[in-house]
């Protein structure tokens, strides 16, 4: 008589990470560089990809922001321009990761659950160059004026200065016409330096910096990248174009150097001067991603841009053409999260 098989023992859940951490992530970029769209795409990006992370709001407001903006993209609509500094979005980035334990020959690894509190502020781009208010009000008074009340800009700079990781959005399409990316970067990095340089153990600012070259799907970005061999279409089943991580920085430089009047060179130099190379990483991103031909179920080079510009009663408007497949939206956040958590 055979012994009945022992009931299958379910895999025990990984232990909680003793080093659960709290981190502030700063989001930064000029007007219309896609900051809000970037945040809006996070939910979809996680669900499209195979990421071991959960993302949810710590409070009702943060959850509402996440869900309403995801809905917006699902409706193929871009978020409107941000006109006001939001309050701090408090999100939880929860997932499992591998940590190392022990020393030398006894070293081992194990899976732990990590939880990272992400605190972000969605700010109008104008704040990053100090032009949110054209001039200091001179005659108007408010009865409930509080002398100690923090200005909106000061609140943003204090937030960025206290951040452990920064996501800087570089919009090549804006740079192509306005050539002011450096201005937005420089003004803000000085504010960050003033508030955080003293924390650093080296000559650089203490933060990790994820430089996101946005609007990858835009013809002005994808076109040069494709023509100059930065694209690899073998990295995902839908054949979406991708720029290998080690080429992203090179593409960033290439895009900047292509235009002699561009401020991108200054921007690149400023990034290198302020942030440690080991703490800087470049990502080619697109919040809405490339257009996926619904009939073929894959990317087609002949119709890659996932945005449609239309002339109508409301002027020239933009809308999302197809489903949203965000590119490198979660990755910068995940990279920063990893850097914030201890490795062993």
């Amino acid at each position: 008589m055979s012994t009945p098989p022992a009931p299958a023992t379910p895999t025990p859940p990984p232990p909680p990470d003793p080093a659960a951490s709290r981190g502030r992530i700063g989001l930064w970029g000029p007007p219309a560089s896609g900051k809000t769209t970037f945040l809006a795409a996070l939910g979809l990006a996680l669900d499209r990809g195979d990421f071991p992370w959960l993302l949810y709001g710590r409070d009702e407001w943060s959850n509402t922001f996440l869900s309403s903006h995801t809905d917006l993209l699902r409706q193929k609509t871009f978020p409107p321009a941000t006109t006001d500094l939001s309050r701090e979005l408090s999100w939880v980035f929860r997932g499992s990761r591998t940590i190392r334990e022990g020393r030398l020959l006894r070293r081992s690894t194990r899976e732990v659950v990590s939880e990272l509190d992400l605190e972000l502020i969605d700010a109008p781009g104008g704040y990053f160059i100090g032009r949110s208010q054209p001039a200091e009000p001179s005659r108007v008074r408010f009865d409930d004026d509080d002398d100690e009340e923090e200005s909106q800009e000061e609140r943003l700079y204090r937030h960025l200065g206290a951040c452990h990781g920064l996501i800087y959005l570089f919009d090549p399409t804006r740079e192509r016409t306005r050539k002011d990316s450096y201005d937005y970067f420089h003004h803000t990095v000085l504010q960050i330096a003033r508030r955080s340089a003293a924390r650093s153990g080296d000559r650089f600012l203490p933060q990790h910096l994820a430089v996101c070259i946005t609007k990858f799907d835009h013809p002005h970005v994808y076109g040069p990248a494709f023509k100059n061999g930065f694209i690899d279409q073998t990295l995902n089943p839908q054949h979406f174009p991708a720029v290998p991580d080690d080429l992203a920085e090179e593409l960033f430089e290439f895009l900047g150097e292509a235009d002699r009047e561009s401020s991108a060179v200054l921007l690149r130099n400023s990034i290198r001067r302020h942030f440690h190379p080991d703490r800087t990483r470049y990502f080619m991103t697109s919040a809405v991603g490339f257009y996926l031909d619904p009939d073929l179920g894959r990317f087609r080079h002949s119709q890659y841009w996932n945005v449609v510009e239309e002339e109508g009663d409301e002027g020239r408007t933009s809308r999302i053409l197809g489903d949203v497949y965000p590119v490198n939206v979660v990755e910068p956040l995940a990279w920063l999260a990893e850097t914030l958590l201890p490795r062993s």
Binding site: P31, A32, E60, W61, T64, S68, L72, T77, F78, P79, P80, A81, T82, T83, D84, S86, R87, P124, G125, G126, R131, S132, Q133, P134, A135, E136, P137, S138, R139, V140, R141, F142, D143, D144, Q152, R174, T177, R178, V307, E309, D313, E314, G315, R316, T317, S318, R319
Partner: protein, 834 residues
């Protein structure tokens, strides 16, 4: 319509622009683009959603407040989508802010709703130019209609909550932006107009400014109170809001004041409330229907005097119904403040004054003041109102038992001073109120100038003759015809208080003798005067003559109380006192208690230190002589020497003592015991020694003597022992006893004291202490005499030489040896054999 020149600012961005949102243009007298940038930023409702169909979609309307150096402005901002997009293809929203001076709004009663109607679609002038518009004045009743439209409960809750802080209205998705503006007006209409200088609101709020007070939103924003549109109610913890809400409900619901009246009242409160405490809004409210508010508070006993006065001085009592104003007038009069009398008098008829209230006010005042000053002012008012007689009658009747007793003296004085012959009600009331009648009669007795005949004639119309007649006879009658026992006994039928009043009247008139003998007989014989309070009343009587005093003291002693007048009589008329005392003791019936009276007198004499004043000695000896047969009284007078041995030197006392000891032979042997036992606590030791020497001389055994000392209050100490022996020696020597004889007596006395250690209070410790302090005292004396010896015997030239003489020197040597022997013996032997 009101023509107005108002400022404006436009915020947005140019079409196709990469620019950030900014103030594109502005105009008006007060503010520039920078100012509007600040206004837009401060009162931003947040980022608008892109959709155009949701409850939070544009247009948004924001109500704001700001000011320049001179005045407040109400801001109306309308934010809506333009037809343009920016460089990123995103729709551009435009915000138009209009700055309307608050005074323009307040004076012309322009509602938010009308502002919105007039301005939301107005064409803006070119950059830099002022906007000239015509603003409509809000139609009367329009605001109340808005409140009714949204529901009083909802609007009132929002208004009340706004007093405490920001409010978020949720679950109101069905309202259009215009509806929401209308709701803002409905809420503002239920607040004082001046609150608009701090009233801020937004038709939607999407994580925007915290400076916005009332907003619609999907969910409650942080730091605000939620008002659920579907089920509006106040949070239970709201305090100021609760008060305000309660007042609104009270006015509208309970008192039935039309909403339009409430709204009109609030619209009239235009003083800016920016920066004011929220509670001020609550107080402002109080002025609406204030008379009734005061009435309600008054009925609850909470109305302040100021409020009560205000209702009548302002004339607003006329807003009340007749019975209400009368009730409130009662409260005003009831304050009892004489400063209010002119007001009370002036409005008496119109306000429906009630005489009872006036009487009660006067009564309250009588408790506080001298009626000759303020109490009469109420009477003066009553007189001027033609109500003097019922007023006085009411005042008297208020004092009747069961009403509000007390103050009879004051009322009686008022009646006496101000009543007229035709005050029938007053005199009838007095006749019915014995307490006041008694006081009135006593006052007549005091007033030497009073027309007694006239008064008694007037009173006789209302007061029974058998009551009034004894008073008349005592106060006015012939001295040769005192009240007889039968009359007084009959008078007692009117009650003890009446008899007491008769006695007091006689006393204050100085005619107590007219009634006292018969009264004393009644005290002795009539059980109706057996009550304890009579003892107090007798004690309180204060006659002027010694005779009456002596008789009253007999009554007090009869009642087992100490004689009250003896000491005073000794200083004034001791002979009269003795006669009165003797007369009192001769009253039939007293003889049975005479021993008790004399025992009481003797006890009093033991306590009273009468020996120091010859006049007091005289009266005591007079009484002791009058009752010489009383051994108790005699012993008490004999014992007085314990405190004053010098009495032996008083000729009168000595003579009395000799006779007393002859009359009471047994007392002669007992006298030492009597005297020594009576020693006071503070008797001088030398005097005690004198008494001891006298007793020893009269053959009293030392042990008996010491026993008497032990039984007295006087306590023997070491110091006193030395003093006692010194006094005894001096006395013995003065009486001719030799030094050796005196010394022997002292030794015997000391030995007797030594033996007394066996008694409980003479413990070993006590004796040890006695010895120690006695020796210390002797040492001090020896030292003193040694010093005298040295000083006196010293040579005037050679300070080291002394002249004492051979005989004295020999005696000093012997004394020295004696002392030395004692000193040496004290090493092994103990004083007193211990």
């Amino acid at each position: 319509m009101v023509r107005a020149r108002i400022g404006w600012g436009l915020r947005g961005k140019p079409a196709g622009s990469h620019d950030e949102y900014a103030v594109l243009a502005a105009g008006g007298p007060a503010f520039g683009k920078g100012d509007y940038a600040g206004i837009f930023s401060r009162f931003s409702p947040g980022n608008p959603p892109v959709g155009r169909e949701s409850p939070g979609s544009l247009p948004w309307v924001v109500l704001s407040v700001f000011r320049d150096d001179h005045e407040h402005y109400l801001g109306l901002t309308v934010q809506d989508w333009s037809n343009d997009t920016d460089a990123a293809g995103r729709p551009i929203s435009l915000s138009r802010c209009f700055a309307v001076p608050y005074t323009l709004v307040a004076e012309n009663r322009i509602s938010y709703r009308d502002l919105y109607t007039a301005l939301h679609a107005v064409d803006l002038p070119p950059d830099g130019r002022t906007l000239d518009v015509e603003l409509p004045e809000t139609a009367e009743g329009a605001q109340a209609a808005l409140v009714e439209r949204f529901g009083f409960e909802r609007a009132a809750a929002a208004a009340a909550l706004l007093l405490e802080g920001p409010v978020t209205v949720t679950r109101a998705e069905e309202l259009t932006p215009r509806d929401r503006v209308d709701f803002f007006e409905a809420v503002a209409a239920l607040l004082p107009c001046g609150w608009r200088t701090r009233f801020t609101a937004s038709t939607w709020h999407n994580d925007g400014s915290r400076h916005l007070g009332l907003v619609f939103a999907r969910q409650r924003r942080s730091g605000s109170v939620e008002l659920d549109w579907q089920t509006p109610r106040l949070p239970s913890e709201s305090v100021i809001a609760g008060d305000y809400w309660g007042q609104l409900h009270e006015l509208k619901g309970v008192r039935g004041i039309p909403l339009s009246v409430i709204v009109a009242h609030l619209a009239g409160c235009g003083e800016p409330l920016a920066g004011a405490e929220p509670s001020e809004a609550v107080h402002i409210f109080a002025d609406l229907d204030r008379p009734r508010t005061v009435l309600k508070a008054a009925m609850g006993g909470r109305a302040s005097a100021e409020d009560l006065r205000w209702v009548f001085t302002s004339g607003r009592f006329r807003e009340l119904r007749a019975e209400e104003r009368a009730a409130l007038f009662d409260q005003l009069v009831g304050l009892g403040d004489v400063e209010d009398i002119p007001l009370v008098e002036r409005l008496w008829a119109e306000a429906g004054g009630d005489l009872k209230s006036l009487v009660r006010a006067a009564r309250t005042d009588l408790r506080r003041r001298d009626p000759s000053e303020e109490g009469s002012r109420y009477l003066g008012a009553a007189e001027r109102l033609g109500l003097a007689d019922p007023f006085l009658a009411g005042l008297v009747r208020l004092l009747e038992p069961g009403e509000d007793p007390g103050g009879e003296v004051m009322v009686a004085r008022l009646v006496m001073a101000r009543s007229q012959r035709d005050h029938i009600a007053t005199f009838q009331a007095v006749a019915d109120n014995k307490a006041v009648l008694h006081q009135l009669l006593c006052h007549l007795a005091v007033d030497r100038g009073a027309d007694l005949v006239g008064w008694f004639r007037q009173l006789s119309r209302f007061v029974p003759a058998d009551f009034l007649h004894p008073f008349f006879r005592v106060l006015h009658g012939d001295a040769e015809r005192p009240l007889d026992a039968e009359t007084l006994s009959g008078f007692l039928a009117h009650g003890s208080a009446s008899l007491h009043a008769l006695l007091v009247a006689a006393e204050v008139r100085g005619r107590l003798d007219r009634v006292l003998p018969e009264f004393a007989s009644l005290v002795i014989t009539d059980a109706r005067l057996g009550h304890a309070f009579w003892t107090d009343w007798i004690f309180e009587l204060d006659p002027v003559g010694g005779h009456d005093r002596g008789m009253l003291d007999v009554l007090l002693l009869w009642r087992d109380r100490s004689p009250r007048h003896l000491e005073k009589a000794a200083l004034e008329d001791w002979r009269g006192y003795r006669e009165g005392f003797v007369a009192g003791c001769a009253i039939p019936g007293v003889e049975a208690g005479l021993d008790r009276i004399l025992a009481g007198l003797a006890a009093h004499l033991r306590e009273w230190n009468w020996c120091k004043d010859p006049r007091q000695v005289a009266v005591v000896l007079a009484l002791a002589t009058a009752y010489r047969e009383s051994p108790v009284l005699t012993a008490a007078v004999l014992a007085a020497r314990a405190a004053a041995p010098e009495l032996s030197d008083d000729e009168g006392y000595r003579s009395w003592r000799e006779q007393a000891l002859q009359r009471h032979a047994p007392l002669e042997g007992q006298e030492p015991v009597i005297v020594l036992k009576a020693l006071p606590r503070d008797a001088a030791a030398e005097n005690v020694g004198r008494l001891c020497a006298e007793m020893l001389g009269r053959g009293v055994l030392p042990s008996r003597l010491v026993e008497c000392l032990d039984q007295s209050h006087w306590r023997l100490t070491g110091d006193r022992l030395v003093g006692l022996l010194t006094g005894a020696r001096s006395s013995l020597r003065a009486s001719g006893v030799s030094e050796a004889g005196a010394r022997e007596k002292c030794r015997i006395l000391t030995a007797a004291i030594q033996r007394s250690r066996s008694r409980p209070h003479m413990s070993d410790a006590h004796l040890s202490d006695l010895r120690y302090t006695a020796v210390q005292s002797i040492c001090t004396e020896l030292e003193h005499y040694s010093f005298l010896l040295e000083t006196i015997a010293a040579d005037t030239e050679d300070k080291k030489s002394f002249h004492v003489g051979d005989q004295s020197r020999q005696r000093l040597i012997e004394l020295s040896a004696w002392l030395k022997g004692v000193i040496e013996a004290s090493r092994s032997r103990k004083f007193f054999g211990r």
